[in-house]
Subunit: 406 residues, 2 copies
C-alpha cells in the first residue's frame, strides 16, 4: 500500500531477494529512528533485531542517501563521553504538499521529521477558471516553495496535491469531479509544466484526516474527519487506516440530504448539506458576501455578537449535526473531528452539532464530547499532503538518490 | 478474530509451541478440505504444503474428532481403482443458529458443510414480553432442534443467537438495547436454562450480512446489507470482513433521520426511517393490521394491484432510498443488499429505492443495479448464526472433542 492507502505494485511485491531484503532493512532502520530517535547504532540494533555490522552498513547507506544524520551529541539522559546519535536528517529529503482550494492555493515543505519548513498561501478565485491555468499557478507556487527549501538544504523527493474533489482509486492521477472548482476528469499531469515535479492528487478531506491522525498519534482510532472549505468533505479513518471506499469515493458528506424537499443544489439534488452549512450558504444567511477571508470575518462577527451571523452559524451547525447522525449510526466511530474552516468556527458550531446528535442518536450510547474541533484547522490538508510524501519516503528509503559519499 | 469479527484471546495468540503448530495444522487441513474437498490425502498435502506423513496423522485426528469422513468414492474425474476421498463429515459436529424476532423464534442446525439439516420457526409476539420468558422459549426451540439433529447423527458444538438489537464488542454476551423487543441490558446467559448450551448473541443484521457473503462467495466485496423484520438494521462488510464499529454499534439504519421534522419515533427522535419503512408503518399506511404473516400479505396484495398497498410500499421505498444515500456517500460500497422482509418485497421497493439514489447520488458515478435483493431473504440471520459457528469450528478444530477411536 502507498502512503495514501492505495494498492501499489513495485518492489514491495517482489520475491524476497537479497536486494529486496536490504530494501526492507533500510526501511526498518529508518523507521526505528523515525519512531524512537535520536538513537545510537546499538539502539537501532536493539529496535530492529539486526546485527551491529548490518546496522552499520545500512546506516551508512541511509547517511549517503541523506535520510539520516549522525551527530556528536549524546542521547538525552546519558552522562559522560558524548556518543554518536542518529536522527532524521533535517537537511535531507523533504516532502511537498500542495493544495488547490476554491479561493486559494497553498504549498508546504516538510522535512523528514515532519517539521514544516516552508509555507506559501495565496488567495485565488479558482472556481470556474480553466483547470490548466490553476494547475500552472499551483506548479509555480510549488517551484517557489522548492527553491526556498533548497536554500535550507532540503531536497523535495515527493509531491502530493490536495484537491476538493473525488479522486478514484483507479486509474491513479485523476481528479474525476471537483464540483466547487468546476472540474471534471482533470489529470494534473496533463497540465503540469515540469514532468519531473507532477504531484499525485488526493481528496483534501482524506489528507486532512491523515494530518489529524499524525498530529494526534492515536494509531488505531476510528474517526470521521469533516473538512470544510468552500465545500464540505469528509474522510473515514478505520482502525487507524484511511478508508477510501470501493472506488475511492468514501466520505462524501456535502451532498447528504438533510432536508429532502429543501433548497435545490447545483449537484442536481435537493436539500444537500452544502445548501445549509457550505460557505456560500452561511455567508448569504449572515448577510455577508465577497469578504476577503470569509471564515475570519464570520469568526470576528460571531465573536462580536452579530445576530445574523450567530443565526447563520446555528443553522449551519444544526444541518451539520443532522448530516453527522448517519456517520455515527452507520460507522460507530470513536469520534468526529470538525476540520478546515469548521475548526475555526467551532465555538459557534459545536453546540448545535452536539444538540442534534444528542437528540437523534438515541438507540446506542453517545457523548457530545465525541465531537471535537481539529487542532490543525485549515492547514490540515496541505500538511497531510506533505506528511504523506514523507511517510512514503520513510517506508522505502531505497528510492532516494545517493547524495553524499560514504 | 472469532467468526463474528471480535478480537479473541486463546490459543491463536499463544507462542508457536509444538502444540500450537499442530493446532494450526489441523485447521489448515480442515480448511483445505472445506474449500476444495473432497480431496485425497495427497491433494491435502499439495494444498497445505505439509508432508504426507504429517497429513496422515492430522487427518486421523480430524476423523477422530468427527470433522472429516473418508469414503471409498473416487474423486470426480478419475478412472480406475477407487481412491479414498476426504470430505467434511455430514454426521459430525454441527452449528446451531437461533433467532429471536419481534414476531417469531427460529432455529437452524447446519452441518460442517454448511448444509441446513434442521429448521424450526414458530410465530410468537415477543415485543414487550419478559426477556427471561422469551429466552426460555428460544432455548426450548434450540433443544428441540438439537434433538432432531442428534437423530441425524449431528452433534451441535457451537451456538449463536440473532437478536434485533445492539450487541457491544465489550463486554461480550450482552444485548445492550433491542428497542423493538423492549430489551435493555439483557444477558442471555442469565436466563438460559442449561449453562452448557448458552448461545453468543449477535445483531441479526450482522449475521444476515455474513450469510449473504457466504452465499455469494465474493470474499473481498464491500457492501451494506439492510435487514428488515419488524425493525430495520444494517451491517457493513468492508473488503470481505464484517465491520462492527468502534464499540459494536455500526450499521444502525432504522433511526436515520429521513424527514427531520417528521413523525415522532419511540426512540425519542423525529422522522426516523422506521416511521416510514418499518413494518408497522407500512401496514398502517396500507390499511392492514394484525395479519398473521404481514410480509406475505403485503406481497400478495401488492401483486394483486391493491392501490393502498402499492402506495405504502412506494413511500417505504422512497424513505429507504433516502436513508441509503448516506450509506453510499459515506462508505462507497460495491453494492447494497436488501435483505430480510425487504427481499420478499423487492419487486415493489427496488424501483423507488433506485429512483431516490439516482436523484441524490450525483457527485460520483452510481448505477441503480448496485442495489439488489438478498438471495436468502428472511432466513439470512438464522443461517448466518449457524454458519458463523461452523466457520469457527473449521478455524480451530482442536476444540472439538474426540468421538471416534482412530
Amino acid at each position: 500500500m502507498t502512503a495514501l492507502g492505495r494498492p501499489a505494485g513495485g518492489p514491495e511485491t517482489a520475491p524476497a531477494s537479497q536486494q529486496g531484503m536490504r530494501r526492507q532493512n533500510l526501511a526498518a532502520v529508518l523507521g526505528a529512528v523515525a519512531a524512537h530517535g535520536p538513537l545510537s547504532r546499538a539502539d537501532v540494533a536493539g529496535h530492529t533485531g539486526l546485527t551491529r555490522p548490518a546496522v552499520s552498513s545500512l546506516v551508512d547507506e541511509l547517511i549517503g542517501r541523506a535520510a539520516l544524520a549522525e551527530t556528536e551529541t549524546a542521547p538525552s539522559g546519558r552522562v559522560g563521553r558524548p556518543g554518536r546519535a542518529l536522527a532524521l536528517d533535517d537537511r535531507g529529503p523533504a516532502g511537498l504538499g500542495l493544495e488547490i482550494g476554491v479561493t486559494h492555493l497553498a504549498a508546504c515543505v516538510v522535512d523528514l521529521r515532519g517539521e514544516p519548513r516552508v509555507w506559501r498561501r495565496v488567495e485565488r478565485a479558482n472556481a470556474g477558471r480553466p483547470a490548466a491555468r490553476v494547475l500552472e499557478e499551483a506548479a509555480a507556487l510549488g517551484a517557489d516553495a522548492e527553491s526556498e527549501a533548497a536554500a535550507l538544504g532540503l531536497r523535495v523527493e515527493g509531491r502530493v496535491l490536495a484537491v476538493p474533489g473525488v479522486v478514484p482509486n483507479d486509474p491513479g492521477g485523476l481528479v474525476a469531479h471537483a464540483p466547487n472548482l468546476g472540474w471534471r476528469a482533470v489529470r494534473p499531469a496533463d497540465h503540469w509544466p515540469d514532468p519531473a515535479t507532477v504531484p499525485e492528487p488526493e481528496n483534501e478531506a482524506n489528507l486532512g484526516a491523515l494530518a489529524e491522525q499524525r498530529h494526534l498519534g492515536h494509531p488505531a482510532e476510528t474517526f470521521v474527519h469533516v473538512s470544510a472549505e468552500a465545500g464540505i468533505g469528509a474522510a473515514l479513518v478505520i482502525d487507524g487506516r484511511l478508508f477510501r471506499g470501493a472506488r475511492g469515493f468514501a466520505g462524501e458528506l456535502g451532498h447528504l440530504p438533510v432536508h429532502p424537499e429543501g433548497a435545490p443544489c447545483p449537484c442536481g439534488a435537493r436539500g444537500c448539506l452544502e445548501q445549509y452549512a457550505g460557505e456560500a450558504a452561511v455567508l448569504r444567511e449572515a448577510g455577508l458576501a465577497g469578504a476577503h477571508d470569509p471564515v475570519a470575518v464570520l469568526a470576528e462577527r460571531a465573536g462580536a455578537g452579530d445576530a445574523a451571523t450567530l443565526r447563520a452559524l446555528d443553522r449551519a451547525g444544526r444541518a451539520l449535526g443532522l448530516a453527522l447522525v448517519p456517520a455515527v449510526d452507520l460507522i460507530d466511530p470513536d469520534g468526529l473531528v470538525l476540520g478546515g474552516a469548521y475548526a475555526e468556527l467551532a465555538d459557534w458550531l459545536l453546540p448545535p452539532v452536539r444538540a442534534e446528535l444528542a437528540a437523534r442518536v438515541t438507540v446506542r450510547p453517545w457523548t457530545p464530547e465525541a465531537v471535537r474541533p481539529s487542532a490543525l484547522g485549515r492547514r490540515g490538508p496541505v500538511l497531510g499532503a506533505a506528511w504523506s510524501t514523507v511517510q512514503r519516503i520513510i517506508a522505502d528509503p531505497a528510492r532516494l538518490p545517493f547524495r553524499r559519499a560514504v
